[in-house]
Symmetry: C2
Subunit: 197 residues, 2 copies
Amino acid sequence: MNGQPADRVEETVAIALRLFTERGYDNTPMSAVADALGLTKAGVYHHFESKEHLLYLVHKHTLESQLVPLIEQAEAEPDAGMRIRRFMIDYVLLLARDPSAAMLINESRRLAPHHLAEIRGIWRRGYRMLRGTIIELQQRGLCREGVDPVYAAFGAIGMTSWIIHWFDRARGGNADAVARTMCGIFLDGILKDGARP
Amino acid sequence: MNGQPADRVEETVAIALRLFTERGYDNTPMSAVADALGLTKAGVYHHFESKEHLLYLVHKHTLESQLVPLIEQAEAEPDAGMRIRRFMIDYVLLLARDPSAAMLINESRRLAPHHLAEIRGIWRRGYRMLRGTIIELQQRGLCREGVDPVYAAFGAIGMTSWIIHWFDRARGGNADAVARTMCGIFLDGILKDGARP
DNA sequence: CTCCTAACCTACCGGCCGGTAAGTTTTTAG
DNA sequence: CTAAAAACTTACCGGCCGGTAGGTTAGGAG
């Protein structure tokens, strides 16, 4: 119930998340993780079978605590338009606030194939929610012609995700304005002229 | 005038582009580059002062031969709407066709700071062109309210660039349809209801 | 032919880093 | 208190890789 990690595994995952974000996965030797924990390298390897496994746990823990709730909140939204809006805005705010999200995206290539598949499955839940919502809008006749739900969903994800490459909250970036602009462009871009709120 | 590289430097850059794309920068030892050239490692280091320098040349050469012409073609387009359309479509087709573009985006972090700054300057030309075009549309009263030119430009770039993370031309991906859908969403998203062609 | 230079090779260095074997301390169970 | 299991430490290995010192070959100029 307090902010302290319950055990060494959680503590290590939290520290690795920070170090990987600050220095990158390849530039963070396990000795650095050990130092930050006040342990030796072998002490860390008592809890993790490999560095890749630690990276996998960092991915899994962070996505489940940050991304999944955000998807579930959006899914709970009854109105389709609001569902998209809710997700896009919260997602932009998340990426703008937390630089570790960018690390997860960049370093996912280092995962072993089966771990990568599992992690991509988590990301895919957001994609599926968006695509399903766009299909629903289409079936209700609210979408413009020529909007492919798959490509549109990836468009919304890409437009927002890309902020990891340019947004700098330290230099006067206004995350709220980014979120509103992008969400507005996307919804105006897929909805028929008469279907907007 | 033929397809053969004019000298060893060009030849090496071409081979490094291929190897970095296939295996990643970190997983491509200089010995692999040397092998592919039929040289030894020291033979390669006769032409390049460091591996990072080789990566820099790969970036520079590829961007100048692939991205810059695409930007200049778009800039030559007199109509603002067509300028955006032209760029977005050609850019999507480029990314969908050539996996090395994804490598350049992913591995740019390995560049030394001054090289990174120069390479980002090339990418930025596309951003500036888009932003300037959106501002032009705004001044002519063709844009919806609330469209920030900076965030909109990054939105167009992000929506299209993100296909490096999901598009798979080997599995029936239709790059033309992607390009048309995304370009349509973006233009419908920023232009007033009456301003579309 | 000679001389020079660019291109290239052999052989090596040094450091880093993931991972481990084997032993020691700490905690827990009974 | 005892014993075993869990949590560590010390000390090390082995491999890879970027980079280089110094010598060798090839090719063109004169």
